[in-house]
């Protein structure tokens, strides 16, 4: 069984009022354990609603959402789901609550009533995993945006989370902060097999994923590898999206007759291909 199984999931906001809005309409998707998936879609397409179902912040109006075989509608299983699925939100200033970085990361384990020695062990390990161990005694407000988001990730890791949902977690960061956070996430994915669900408007981040889901008006309209999804720019543009810069440039250069491989996704791919093309 897949780690996350979403079956015929529908979600309706403000049901029975004038503002009734069907944010998710019969959505089906699966995410395997250890997979890195990206979710793309215009503002209002249902990405965040979907994410909130995966850790049970929202519950289905129809259909179901299973995480590691546990059902979000089962009140007892919900707590187990939340321990396994950590969420990092957009605004770095809304997520840290304690006066010191280490207290913030310890918040989850403390609430589970763990022994102090175990808490300390988990906090150290979690901070080291995101490269923030030198900041454990810092007050969160002295950190940069990228550092705050990494502390938020550490908070999830301290709960031994198996899956991390990034809900536009880099949208408010400067370029360096974005880079820092995505590098930390990529490392956790590769080294610790963390399952990652990355909701983003940055196409370069989606290019790092194993699989991409594209949403429109509450539906999943496209699924595939980044190569498959970014192969056609026009349908993406119609959905209010774009393709990564390297893909766009490759496409235009090919149109002008330059012989480049079709599967270029990242800046590294394109630089390598252009170097090779120049030597020939």
């Amino acid at each position: 069984m897949a780690f996350i199984e979403i079956k015929n999931l529908s979600h309706i906001y403000h049901r029975g009022t004038e503002q009734e809005l069907c944010a998710l309409d019969n959505v089906n998707l699966t995410v395997e354990e250890g997979e890195f998936v990206a979710v793309l879609g215009a503002n209002g397409s249902g990405k965040s609603t979907l994410a909130r179902h995966i850790n049970g912040l929202l519950l289905p109006d129809k259909g179901q959402c299973l995480v590691a075989g546990l059902n979000t509608t089962n009140a007892e299983e919900l707590w187990q789901i939340r321990q396994q699925v950590g969420m990092v939100f957009q605004n770095p200033d809304n997520q840290l609550i304690a006066g010191l970085v280490e207290d913030d990361v310890a918040f989850g384990p403390e609430n589970l009533g763990m022994k102090p020695a175990e808490i300390r062990r988990r906090v150290s390990r979690a901070l080291a995993a995101v490269g923030m161990e030198d900041f454990r005694q810092f007050a969160p407000h002295l950190l940069s945006g990228g550092q705050k988001q990494r502390v938020a990730i550490a908070g999830a890791l301290a709960m031994n989370t198996k899956c991390l949902i990034l809900d536009e977690a880099t949208a408010m960061l400067d370029p360096e902060g974005r880079q820092e956070v995505m590098a930390a996430v990529q490392r956790l994915h590769e080294e610790k097999g963390l399952t990652v669900i990355c909701i983003t408007h940055f196409m370069d981040e989606a290019a790092q994923a194993d699989n991409v889901f594209v949403m429109q008006a509450g539906h999943i309209v496209q699924t595939g590898t980044p190569q498959q999804v970014f192969a056609k720019a026009e349908p993406l543009r119609k959905l209010g999206l774009a393709v990564p810069l390297a893909v766009e440039l490759t496409w235009k250069l090919r149109q002008h007759g330059l012989n480049l491989p079709q599967d270029i996704l990242t800046e590294d791919d394109l630089v390598t291909a252009l170097e090779a093309a120049y030597v020939h």
Binding site: Q19, G41, A42, N43, G44, Q90, S144, G145, G146, E168, A171, M172, L173, D174, P175, E176, G177, H201, M203, D204, R237, G240, L241, A242, L245, A246, E248, L249, K252, L253, H256, G257, L258, E267, L270, V271, L274, E275, A277, Y278
Partner: protein, 288 residues
């Protein structure tokens, strides 16, 4: 005329253990008619700086002059003039749509002008004008709830609320953050039109070097509470080391072209936009 920041120092929580110098003796000029972009690492002082431009923050020392008037003037004779000068500077905050609150879009946009005790006709005219500028059709939208709009439309409605005050200088803090690529493009084009067609002076804080390269004619780089560089995008983005020290990097296309140049390809390493990059590559590879 211009906005002049003169030797401004700003200290958060002075004389406490949390004292922090956010701006250290900053002097700079934002010329009238320019499209000025401000970039910098989180905590570099850029948001503190823009909050000084219309007097939301008062300098610990130094002064901000709008068209020659000290906007912090509290003297009996200068107070009125300072207030008028502050109103020349409109401020659009990050996530401006969070500030929408009225029942209809027209009422929300009218809030500012109504507080200035303008006549009903004048207010109505300003609402229509502001909606026109941001591309929200008056007849379609004026009566609708602002909360029924998409993210990009809500942000445009919020900007219209500031434009209805008819500012001469428009300051926008990360106006495109969190918007999807087409919402982002649409909003930035709108801001560009404000600059070109309405002759409005734009001050835009942005983390996107790509957007800055495309739109701005004047760039200010902030680092550790000081101005690290100021100039045209071409001048500023050519200073690679300085940018990296400030925690920034040139636009992605520039980075890519620099890498190709370093690998021995005779490409133009000083491009700013994808179009310029493509042009240079086509020339190098002799394809048309």
């Amino acid at each position: 005329m211009s906005i002049e920041v003169k030797n401004v120092t700003y200290i958060y929580m002075p004389k406490t253990p949390f004292e922090r110098v956010a701006l250290a003796d900053v002097s700079l000029t934002i010329p009238e008619g320019s499209f000025t972009a401000i970039a910098g690492h989180t905590g570099s002082g850029k948001s503190t700086l823009v909050q000084h431009l219309n007097g939301l923050l008062t300098p610990t020392s130094g002064a901000v002059l709008v068209d020659g008037v000290n906007i912090g003037d509290k003297s009996k004779t200068g107070r009125q003039q300072a207030q008028t000068a502050r109103q020349q500077v409109g401020m659009v905050f990050q996530y401006a749509e969070h500030q929408l609150f009225e029942e209809s879009i027209a009422a929300d946009i009218a809030f500012g002008p109504a507080n200035q005790e303008l006549s009903a006709e004048e207010i109505d005219q300003r609402v229509r004008e502001a909606m026109g500028i941001v591309g929200l059709d008056y007849d379609t939208y004026h009566d609708r709830s602002p909360f029924s709009l998409s993210g990009g439309q809500m942000r445009r409605a919020a900007i219209a609320g500031v434009l209805a005050m008819r500012p001469k200088y428009l300051v926008l803090d990360e106006p495109a953050a969190g918007l999807d690529p087409s919402g982002r493009e649409e909003l930035l084009q709108q801001i560009k039109r404000l600059h070109k067609e309405q002759n409005m002076t734009i001050v835009m804080v942005s983390h996107s070097m790509e957007d800055i390269a495309k739109l701005a004619d004047n760039v200010i780089i902030m680092a550790q509470g000081k101005v690290a560089a100021q100039g045209t995008p071409r001048e500023v983005f050519a200073q690679d080391n300085l940018l990296r020290q400030a925690g920034l990097r040139p636009p992605q296309i520039a980075v890519m072209m620099q890498r190709l140049s370093a690998a021995g390809l005779p490409v133009n390493a000083h491009v700013l936009t994808p179009e310029e990059g493509l042009q240079s590559l086509l020339e190098v590879f002799h394809v048309k």
